[in-house]
């Protein structure tokens, strides 16, 4: 039965059909699955499946990324309210767009994906000053700062991730807090993230989930 539920849920996500995904979740709960099983046996594997599919499928598209994250986030939120015990959070992330950048879609996809992967995310919004990224990361004990930039000058400019890197270095936080970047310019130059002072980058919002979880594991506990 679980195999059928997973298959049907994956198909709904792949077809960007939110209504169908929720119907499958409701049926799963009615058939005896616990909310915990829905999240850990259905939703998280579906996100991981989409990560894999997006890498392989040339026809994977932005609409699928958006809806995958949206559905995963909404289902997870609905299930968390029914959990018997709060789930263990695997890490904490602060995320926002670089100073001067107002493009919020990529960030939203990443946030939806991370929430379903049991990562605690603080959304700092758009046009975020470098100092705030670091202060919020320290204040929230986050292991990762995520910086989205859709324009070349906000991706590589002095006020964006480069400044975040400089502040982390000056404050001796580089081992403790990792920096990940994403956005259109990085797709055109796979080495650009290094110029931007980041530890890693992700080609899209869904695979960013995997990259960030890896970075959380690399960050040293204070």
């Amino acid at each position: 039965m679980l195999t059928d539920i997973i298959k049907a849920y994956n198909e709904a996500v792949f077809e960007t059909d939110k209504e169908a995904a929720f119907l499958i979740v409701d049926k799963a709960l009615a058939s005896g699955l616990t909310p915990e099983e829905v999240v850990f046996e259905v939703v998280i594997p579906a996100v991981e499946e989409m990560m894999s599919l997006i890498t392989k499928d040339p026809d994977a598209n932005l609409a699928q990324h958006f809806m995958t994250a949206q559905i995963a986030s909404e289902v997870t939120e609905a299930m968390l309210a029914k959990f018997h015990h709060p789930p263990e959070v695997i890490g904490r992330v602060v995320i926002g767009t670089a100073a001067g950048d107002l493009h919020s879609l990529g960030k939203r996809i990443v946030i939806g994906c991370l929430k379903s992967l049991m990562v605690e995310v603080a959304d700092l919004g758009v046009n975020v000053p470098a100092e705030r990224f670091v202060d919020e990361a320290v204040g929230r004990n986050a292991q990762v700062i995520g910086i989205s930039a859709m324009m070349v000058h906000t991706a590589t400019g002095a006020d964006g991730s480069l400044k975040v890197r400089r502040i982390l270095r000056e404050r001796g936080l580089e081992d403790r807090i990792k920096v990940v970047v994403g956005g259109a310019p990085y797709r055109f130059d796979g080495e650009l993230y290094k110029t931007a002072g980041a530890d890693a980058w992700a080609a899209d919002g869904i695979t960013a989930g995997r990259v960030i979880v890896d970075l959380i594991r690399q960050a040293k506990t204070p």
């Binding site: 609409a63 070349v152 000058h153």
Partner: protein
Amino acid sequence: MTPLEILVAAATGQPAPRIPVFCNLLDQGARELGLSQKDYYARGENGAEAQLKMLARYGHDNVWSLSYVGVEAEILGCREILFDDEGSPNVADFVIKRYDDIAKLEVPADITTHPAWQRTATCMKVLRDEVGATHAICAYITASTTLPAILMGMEKWMELLMTGPVDLRDELLRKCSDFCAQELAAYRAAGANVLVYSTPFGTTGFVGMKRFLEWSLPWMKMDLAPGGVDGIVYYCGMAPFNNVIDIVRTELGIGVYYISPLADLAEAKALLGDRALTCGVIDDIKMIHWTPDQTRAEVKRMIDIGKPGGHFLFGTGVMPLAVPEANIRAMLDASFEYGRLP
């Protein structure tokens, strides 16, 4: 031959001394005139003066009407543009903040009377008078399916598109398509002869094939129907679109395709052949870090692919301000050298 004649020869398969070479040096104009981006974009004369100076220095084949994406939003009610001396202007005030605002959105009956258009009109007049007979004058027009992203932000537009009320979505698209058709006509009347139709939703990288066929394609037809496809360049915001080239060529009849640096140029050229003009676009984000020799090598690689059989143009993408002057020169020198025709 003039650059414009060289462009026409490439498009029609006639003999010419070389391939056309396009270079987008729009944001560079502020630096050229020693102005801030805000001051530069405030007057139409600035855009024309800077473009003409750079044209004289580099010798490429095209100029741009003074434009940034936000101009379209300004004509539709945007009150704030975020200027940055390091890069392109950015819309800072979304015209549509709530779904209710879609009903209030008004497309001016004549967009050429709007103050934001006057800067463009002034720039176009100078360019048309100075080089209109000899060079390509480019204009940037956002497709109806993409314009909402500028009016409400990409996040909210994606939300409306994928999960919102269909009637509201279509009401917005009708207004955007009306605006797009008007803008195309206004640019043509002002003297633009290369109309870069920016349609990121015209690729399956943004929406899947089903939605492309059932939704993107009909709206593109609606945008282009009133004025036809003369001078239209199919451009998907640097996203690859090889897999829909045949469909677009057949369904829309567009004759010029601006191929993403992320796409297989040889495949695109093979798909288009002599049926349309293939524009090979260099990855100018990599040009930020390349050496002049690396830049030359990439130009050669691209022209080796595109030049055989003709119907090929060499072009640039967004040309970030961070691209060094030496690489701009290396790219253009190499494109003229390797682009020579027998």
